[in-house]
Symmetry: C2
Subunit: 351 residues, 2 copies
Amino acid sequence: MSTLNDVAKLAGVSTMTVSRVINGSGYTSPESRARVNRAIAELGYMPNVLARQLRSRRTKTLALVMTDIANPFFTTIARGVEDAARPKGYAVMFCNTDESVDEELDYVRVLIQRRVDGVLLVPASDSSGSLELLKAHGLPAVVLDRRLRSGEVDAVRADSEGGAYLAARHLLDLGHREIAVLVGPESVSTSADRVSGYRRAMLEAGIDPGTQQILFGQYTEASGYEMTGRLLAAQSRPTAIFAGNNFIAFGAIQGLREAGKEIPDDISIVVFDDLPQGWVMPFLTVIAQPAYEIGRLAAEMMIERLGADQPLEPRTIVLPCELITRRSSAPPRLRSAKPTPATLNPTESPA
Amino acid sequence: MSTLNDVAKLAGVSTMTVSRVINGSGYTSPESRARVNRAIAELGYMPNVLARQLRSRRTKTLALVMTDIANPFFTTIARGVEDAARPKGYAVMFCNTDESVDEELDYVRVLIQRRVDGVLLVPASDSSGSLELLKAHGLPAVVLDRRLRSGEVDAVRADSEGGAYLAARHLLDLGHREIAVLVGPESVSTSADRVSGYRRAMLEAGIDPGTQQILFGQYTEASGYEMTGRLLAAQSRPTAIFAGNNFIAFGAIQGLREAGKEIPDDISIVVFDDLPQGWVMPFLTVIAQPAYEIGRLAAEMMIERLGADQPLEPRTIVLPCELITRRSSAPPRLRSAKPTPATLNPTESPA
DNA sequence: CTGTTAGCGCGTTCAG
DNA sequence: CTGAACGCGCTAACAG
């Protein structure tokens, strides 16, 4: 395994000249360049990234720490991050915490030890200590998707409150008055914000949210299924469900199907999170988040901060959500002519 | 960001004592250990992995370079690798070449520059030059899944020839005499070996393989679909198909379905590669490869080699395949009582 | 345009 | 049981 030194000796120049030729930095004479390149080819020299990183004190690596790597929302964010980072010469490490604070902290420690240049974090909790640990070690962070109490950090997220307002408003406009909500943990900001937006729309429509079923659970299919069971077992019978994310929606749809409920004939459903084209059920009315943009902007913020000479003020970007009306939402109680269930009639075909 | 030196100063010892405490190497007095640990806690010291790796000339990292990261066969191998590597303190980098020789070479170069300790390679081709490049830089390699001409390297694979023999033999025993074969590229050893095993079984049964349809394509769903189309357009009408891998089988099943063929009533199908439990169609008769074992053994071979004092002889491990009879294979032309299509009646339900 | 000096943070070596 | 010296391979900073 040859080194810079070997190349320098063979080319009859100093190591610095070789370094300059390799990195294209500083001035080098064409002759030196030629001699160096010849020596490199002859030796099959490949630079040692480790040494380079140690010396330059930069690894040109970002980390994206997320809570659920199986969720298309996060994989889309990941694509946005990668697409923004790669052209600027940054590699990306992907880490999955499964919503566990401990796993998150473990990963953060590993990332510090590996000296990544910056961390993009979807925090599992508001108080994991991850951000403090990162700051203590001088690593910049960008918080994605979720809102934290302490605003002293860069952040990029979608407008959960506004999106939820759109969802509830859409259902209200269709004539629904009993709208159940199924969301993730109360402690996660997206849950709280989505309930807030929902509440605002209900109050505006003159409906007391206190009379509605608002269930907190997990952002998983199992939890969506379970909450739907509780919903159907209860006294009140909502004519619509607002599902806090796509997995909850899957569980809810499963539960409704088992209970013999047709969507949207018996019950409407609106989902926070759009799904990529080609999925099984592109018939859901959704609040689409700009997931790709969230990832892209977060990576760009980070890279900008890394390149800045002086410390930048923390910035927060909140992106709007969009209502995409499909076939899972309709006016309530229109059971007259029962057409083929919409579940089997997607309006948009997979790509 | 504190360093060993900072800890040493605070603890009033030398850097070496700190190093010894951290790595548990050499002797240290209990008092020193306590002082050092206190200093580490106080400073929140985290070792610099880069420096450690540079100095020790080991990254404790393996790479697994594979041709299709979306194929469950390879993800299962990946799990085997990870499960064997992690407990021994090795991290694993996963790289996807998409069967491209260029991508493979690009990755190999990156891996050399990152100084991974060893590379587990599913070669995209017999002559990419990857192995030569690795050897030139002193990186050990283990070749997975595919056979290469040059045997001068560790290798772990399943017995494709024997497995294919089992598959053909199974169909012959059922009474089939026209058995089409759909496999990947002729240049990939698994394709060639699977055709070999098939040929051996046919010859043994007194059938000239030259009279059969043997189609080479890609190990993809699209290619399986396309080859099936050619199959059905031809004169001869096979009563059974031997599919070279799971993706080819998917494409074939799609093509057969569109042509109105029932499996196994109109045509039987046997597939090389088992699928994980829970997949859409656990009704396929398959030749199961020990994918997890391939990954696990490859990682263990590599780690053993890395730990060896003297150079080891190259070793090759060939693992047997297993025939798992399910519902996609049956005797030919038994169209009498046409039951519910087997495709809708899997005998094994998803887990 | 080029070379010299001096480390990045750590672990190996050997002398105490 | 501990420490000093040295170097892994590379580049920043300066001097020429």
